[in-house]
């Protein structure tokens, strides 16, 4: 598994063509059409059950769409899933790790699984970057919520992904944890693309270049962040934290 | 013809076996019959509910 070659920047990070996903009678996603340019930072808002997480899981090739086409980094989720999996990192409120392996063993295991060449150095570097070097020999089970989140972020960065998907990563994090997570995201921000699913308007908007709001599986709004701000002012959409984007540091979980 | 031992052995199996053979056929027929009746009655019930719904829908939007 050669390390993922950089695609030419023109290919969009995500292309959706009438993407639909229904669970029996309920429609979770209803004919979504959307193109996200490479290097963008998309934040997805929406009430519970609006289809945010389902969309993310389809992009991450964990779930399949009922109909329609979804392309990630130019690869189709139906036919070239493994190509996509080699190029995306996924962070969610679930740890996605092995509880009985140590921090270092976890990273080494996933590095080898992703076919990363210099697994040893990569692991050590990431452990240092996420401030877990001191705990690298401790079993993940003994970690605090914040440390697990950082280890999960390290795991997602092992294979130098081009697109990083974050599914409500701030849930259950203390302010200090959110702080370090945001710092880490900024550090690796260079021409990678990001998709963040968040309940929290505040922290979601800070880094967003594009915003998507879903309602009952349909696109309510999709555009750049400035367009979103005008859209919010124009419609005076009342959402409890929709005041102008104040420069607060870490958003409350 | 006086009771002939051989005759008894020949037919012994027939008499002993007979009730079970008949029971087997009867049960097979019964189970199939019950199943057919159940399926048809369910089919009728579903159709009735569909008709009811269609009527509601047509009444609803005119």
């Amino acid at each position: 598994m050669a390390s993922p070659s950089k695609k030419d920047p023109a290919t969009p990070a995500v292309e959706l063509q009438s993407l639909t996903r229904n669970f029996g009678v309920r429609t979770a996603l209803n004919k979504l059409d959307l193109t996200l340019p490479a290097g963008a930072f998309l934040t997805i808002f929406g009430h519970n059950g609006a289809g945010k997480t389902t969309l993310l899981r389809i992009l991450a090739t964990i779930e399949q769409a009922s109909s329609g086409e979804a392309k990630v980094l130019g690869f189709s989720t139906k036919t070239e899933a493994d190509e996509i999996r080699a190029r995306i990192g996924f962070i969610s409120h679930q740890p996605l790790l092995y509880a009985d392996l140590t921090a270092e063993e976890n990273l080494l295991f996933f590095a080898r699984l992703y076919g990363v060449e210099n697994a040893q150095e990569k692991t050590r570097a990431l452990l240092a970057k996420t401030g877990l070097a001191s705990r690298s020999l401790d079993v993940a089970r003994t970690f605090s919520r914040g440390m697990i989140q950082r280890l999960s972020l390290a795991r997602a960065l092992l294979h130098d992904p081009e697109l990083i998907l974050l599914d409500e990563p701030y849930t259950g994090l203390d302010p200090q944890g959110t702080e370090t997570l945001n710092a880490l995201i900024d550090e690796i921000r260079d021409e990678r693309s990001f998709i963040l699913v968040s309940h929290h308007l505040e922290s979601g908007l800070e880094r967003a270049t594009h915003v998507l709001t879903l309602d009952k599986g349909r696109i309510q709004f999709y555009g750049t962040r400035n367009e979103y701000e005008n859209f919010v002012d124009a419609t005076g959409k009342t959402s409890k934290t929709s005041q102008k984007t104040s420069q607060c540091t870490g958003g409350q979980a | 013809m006086e009771p002939n031992a051989i005759l008894d052995t020949i037919y012994s199996d027939v008499l002993a076996g007979a009730p079970y053979v008949i029971a087997a056929y009867a049960l097979i027929w019964l189970v199939l019959f019950v199943y057919v009746v159940v399926v048809i009655s369910r089919l009728k019930a579903t159709e009735k509910r569909m008709a009811l719904l269609e009527e509601l829908v047509s009444k609803g939007n005119d």
């Binding site: 669970f23 | 005759l7 052995t9 020949i10 079970y20 053979v21 087997a24 049960l27 579903t46």
Partner: protein
Amino acid sequence: MTRVFALISLALGALLTTGAFIAVFFFVPIANGGELAQVANIGGEQVTHQLWFSQKIFYFHVPVAIASFAALALGAWHSIQYLRTKRPVCDLRARTAMEVGLIFIILTMISGDLWTRSDWNTWWNWDPRLTTYLILMLLVIAYFILRVQIESPERRARISAVFGIIAFANAALSMLIPRLMESMHPVVLSGSADSGLTPPMLAAFLTALFGMLFIGFGLYYLRSMQLELAERLALVQARYDEAQGS
């Protein structure tokens, strides 16, 4: 229109089986049972064998068994179709085929058990063939219990499709292995069912077989129509409630 087609097939099946039934009990000679101690001359005819009356169950027992195997095969086929095309109707058809299969397996068990009772006068002996059918019954019952256990319709269809295929592969193996094992030992069972079938017996057997297959297919078709209608009804009902609600 399709309902008529199903009813025709059912009627044809019923006709054939009753025809076979009449033939078996009135025309086809009773098969030969165990050897007699010595040849007896009754009414001028040389009688050499005990009359094996219970063999009469054979004419329905084996066709029903074959029909159940065909139903499982149909179930496995629709399961494969579902995995390939993800169309919910395939899952529904697979489920119906398994249900009809279960009915026929139960019939095979009943007739097999009664045959055991009349031949070896015990209600149950661990005869490999009969045990195989007990296992198949458990397998299909497990299939339905598995279906009930999974909530999300999409995963339930996928998982039961996989188990449908496993069940069929297993059914084939469960049928094959006991027979192979038996064929290795010198055949002990005297007058085993399929050997020594005189032409009239064969004719009766075949009519019964096709009759059962037609009944099976007719039932399958009727049942899957009923389920498809119920499914559509649920969809329309949900849409209607939604329309009412919002």
